[in-house]
């Protein structure tokens, strides 16, 4: 692999998503979103609720058609979803009629079409072991807690041997203890497998602890990258060390200050975009 593709492993340029607006110009929820991920990097995306984080992620996953801009992984344009970019959704999204093992197997079968039954099973078991679910292979999703289900989701995603892992608020619904536990689990796996990862989060501490870079999004509509923060802590990370770092609170403050600033300037921003939309829809009327 050339240095160029590994430095610009995932390239998102001028990504725009416009949803149709029945009463005027299309609403550009996300506009001119630019981001470049190096290979093996973990980038978190943080922003206010509804700003368009999931929209960006689903577009990268290929589940949501893009309105404008370009998306490339390893220098190749993305067309549609695929197992090279596996997603862990906001909710666990397990198939409730399948056991843990079958849920993971579904993807493994697809990614190792030439493996024998036994090999595939070993792969599934390996990844379920990694997320600490060796005992729950034959349980159905309804028999498991939210945290366990989310673990299965993660195991399923990672078992695909993806080049890019996309996590949409993977711990959003979990209590803080489970959340920390899972963060460590994921980090451990990512440190080992060196998967390029994009993780959406609402949690400032999670963003700092987990990622190499934090991409802060401005408020929608026309949301885009407001600022990027590099997190210089070395990997693998130890939570206590990160938290005790003398400058930890400077990072935390920078993120919170950004989010607060977005909150404060929200009304003005919405007003501005609204006016623009209004003009767009009124022009033909006055003409």
């Amino acid at each position: 692999m050339s240095k160029n593709t590994s430095n610009r492993y995932v390239e998102i340029s001028n990504l725009t998503k416009a949803y149709p607006n029945p009463f005027g110009r299309d609403i550009e929820v996300v506009k001119d979103f630019n981001m470049i991920l190096k290979k093996g990097e973990i980038v978190s995306v943080i922003g206010h609720s509804g700003c368009g984080k999931s929209t960006v992620l689903t577009m990268v996953a290929g589940l949501n058609p893009i309105s404008a801009g370009e998306l490339a992984v390893e220098g190749k344009q993305i067309s549609g979803p695929g197992p090279d970019r596996s997603v862990v959704f906001q909710s666990p999204c397990l198939l409730p009629w399948m056991t843990t093992l079958e849920n993971v197997m579904l993807g493994v079968k697809q990614c190792y079409p030439h493996g024998t039954r036994k090999q595939r099973r070993q792969i599934c078991e390996h990844y379920l072991n990694l997320v600490g679910l060796a005992d729950s292979m034959h349980k159905y999703p309804r028999e498991m807690s939210g945290g366990m289900q989310q673990r299965v989701g993660i195991a399923r995603a990672i078992a695909l041997k993806p080049q890019v892992l996309l996590l949409d608020e993977p711990f959003g619904r979990l209590d803080s203890l489970t959340r920390m536990d899972l963060q460590d689990t994921i980090l451990e796996i990512l440190d080992r497998e060196k998967i390029t990862t994009m993780v959406i989060t609402h949690d400032v501490d999670e963003a700092i602890y987990m990622s190499d870079r934090i991409c802060m999004m401005t408020n929608g509509p026309e949301a885009t990258v407001g600022q990027i923060l590099e997190v210089p802590f070395a990997r693998p990370r130890v939570r206590a060390d990160v938290l005790d770092h003398p400058r930890y609170y400077d990072f935390r403050f920078a993120l919170i200050a950004f989010l607060e600033k977005q909150e404060h300037s929200k009304d003005a921003h919405i007003q501005a975009v609204h006016e623009k939309l209004q003009q767009g829809s009124e022009e033909p009327v006055s003409a």
Partner: protein, 543 residues
Amino acid sequence: MSEQTRIEKIKYGLLKTIDVSGFKVFDPVVRLIFGEEPQKQVKDITRFMLMPIVFVCCCLVAWNFIAPRHKTKSGEVPTPAQVWNALTINDTLYDRENEKESDFALSDDQREAKIEEVKTLIETKESESTKLKEELATIEASAKQKKAEALAPLQAEYSELKTTHKEARAKRKIEAESLAEAVTKKKATTEELLTFLRDSSRLKEDEKEKEQIIKDQIAEINNEKPKSLQAAQMASDSAATEVQHLKKRLDYLSSGNRSLKVAKAKDSASSALTELESAKSPAEILAAANTVVKNEERASKIAKQEYPRASTIWFQMWRSLFTVFIGFVLAAVVAIPIGIMCGLNRVAMACLTPIISIFKPVSPVVWLLIFQIVVGAFFPNPETHPFFVFLNSLPIIGRLNANPALIFSACTVAMCALWPALVNTALGVSSVEKDHMNVAKVLRLGLWSRLTKIIIPSSLPLMFAGLRISLGVGWMVLIAAEALSSSEGLGKFVWDEYQNGSSLTFSNILLACFVIGIIGFILDRIMIVLQRAVSFDDGAATV
């Protein structure tokens, strides 16, 4: 300790089975047996088991009270006891058919033994029957006497009344005539004559009424049948039919027996064969040879012959079940693929929506007629049509006598049961969670795995809910279809009873009503169990 856990295991196993089979009512009973919170369980049992039982009993009592008080053209509304009686009668009919059937098929020693057995039975039954007849005669005589005694004073009164009335009428007639004369002589006005006539006609009415009252009383006494007489008559009747049945059995064991018939045919074949050997002229030879072949054929045909059963309620029930099963399977086979297609493809949905909306509300009667014409065209000669020949050669199904009527009843059932299954399947498929579809997209599952791994499992609960409705609809439609198409089945049973007008008619119809209801209930339960079995979350509804 381990003993206790084992008991626990059994308990929870039982509870689960009860739950899955949809009989949650029995839950407290099981818990009570295992001694869990007896007070609560007893309370639950009284509330949710005893109370319904008491209520049903109340209904039965009310029925028993009201029924005999409503007189109809075809007799009184039967009481529960009468319906029960009808059940036993129908049951014995069924048993007798079974006996005759087995007799028909018996051969050799077994047959001989059976003949002896039946003969002794006939003797005892016959004596019983004559005894009962005698008893009936005496009871009848006494009843007649009693009736005569009761009637005598009434009849006397009646004739007396009649004569007095006759006299009064004659008197009035003379008076009227004299009055008319007076009018001509201007001694009385026409007005007076008219009033007199009006009065006399009123009087006549009154007299008639009085006569009628007594007449009614007489008629009532005449029609009255004392309970003892009724019972005796019934007993003697049933004994007589029993004797008749036994005689019929004897017939099937002797001359009507299959093995004997076969032997006879074979005999005549062999005798014809000897004839053939001794025959001289070509015409004789040909005739003899023909007889041999004919008799041989007959022998083999008879050997395959089955006893021609008369249809009983249980036979009709099995046939109805078979028909509804065929119709239901047809409906499912058509509805599920189309439903899946509609759910997947919005264009397909749009194409089918008008068809669904137009055909859904059409009455089953119309469908029946249409199918009768359309399907009938496929089977111009049903006896020899390979399809029916095949169906009737199958081991158990063959006994149900499949014919075109069955097929178009089944088609009607299918046509009416199609829609709920189709609509629900389409709904289930189109409402597969978006997240699950996203999983499929990310994994790049092919259409087939997408269908089998995600779409179908996820829409199964709704699909089965639809099938459950379909089966219910189908069962209801079937009864009407059978009544109308006279395809053997419970519907025809009801219809025949209605047409026959025997003393048992009303009871039999009510009996059929219960049989249909109970079977419908059982079918529904089965579907619930299936639905629960395929639903992945525990949220499936039980009604």
